[in-house]
């Protein structure tokens, strides 16, 4: 999931034109020459790779590549729905949450992750905070107004409260065992 905004990558990291040298003061210039004299091989490596970066149009990530080649368009609700469908089909245990497995960004999402971690399974998470289309899309998709949302074997289980109750009465364990068997 792409977490940096497109705008910031463009504006701050890539200079306006690849053929314009960055401006620098005489002080910096002397410092640079000193470094070049002291560390010639490093300088050479640096020069070569940065020339390569600035003279080719190699995008920095595949996401950037896709966005650069396609005209920018708002994702349609159908497209979002398809994406959600695919995620749920591809992953026997799929959690839509705020933040991700390693860094949940909400108490309820955290509880959901904790519960799932007690079962010895792989599960996939989707960070709705990083994906506005999914954030609203999943609420329509499940007819469920809150995050987190758990899907096991393509079936909607519920939110955090339901997970807690089902965890305590053993139902969640059963459902997950079944999904594990089918994996």
């Amino acid at each position: 999931v792409e977490s940096t905004s497109l705008g910031s990558v463009f504006e701050t990291e890539i200079p306006k034109s690849p053929y314009e040298p960055p401006t620098m003061s005489p002080f910096m210039l002397c410092g640079l020459i000193l470094i070049m004299a002291l560390y010639p091989s490093t300088t050479l490596a640096f020069t070569m790779t940065s020339t390569l970066a600035f003279t080719t149009t190699q995008p920095r990530s595949s996401l950037l590549q896709r966005r650069m080649s396609e005209p920018f368009e708002q994702e349609t609700p159908e497209k979002t729905k398809t994406r959600i469908d695919e995620m749920i089909k591809a992953n026997p245990v799929m959690l839509f949450m705020k933040g991700n497995k390693m860094f949940p960004q909400c108490g309820f999402s955290n509880t959901a992750v904790q519960i799932l971690s007690t079962y010895n399974i792989d599960f996939e998470t989707c960070d709705v905070l990083a994906d506005e289309a999914i954030r609203s899309g999943i609420k329509d998709y499940s007819s469920w107004p809150t995050i987190p949302q758990l899907y096991v074997a393509g079936e909607f289980i519920g939110g955090c409260d339901i997970m807690i109750e089902e965890y305590q009465n053993g139902n969640l364990g059963e459902t997950i065992e079944k999904a594990k068997a089918d994996m």
């Binding site: 108490g107 469920w144 107004p145 409260d161």
Partner: protein, 83 residues
């Protein structure tokens, strides 16, 4: 308002609506995170998911408005007596 709607819809034996917004990263006085404890015979025979959805339908307006987190405990009188 939440209390009234739920009372009407479910004629509950027990109804508690607690504003949990203070426990979350939102400004003071917000009404964004709520906990609802509701015990009603209307929940008889309905699975958990169904009960939650019933509550969601009743509180549709609020959910579309400011409330974005709802914690629900929905039990039948029998379950409540047991727990």
């Amino acid at each position: 308002a939440i209390e009234n709607k739920l009372s009407e819809a479910f004629t509950p034996e027990v109804l508690e609506v607690i504003n949990e917004s203070s426990g979350h990263n939102v400004p003071r006085g917000s009404e964004t995170h709520f906990k609802v404890v509701i015990v009603s015979p209307s929940f008889e025979g309905t699975p958990l998911l169904g009960r939650h959805r019933m509550v969601h339908t009743v509180l549709e307006e609020e959910l579309a408005g400011g409330v974005h987190a709802l914690s629900i405990v929905a039990k039948t009188p029998a379950q409540w007596a047991r727990a």
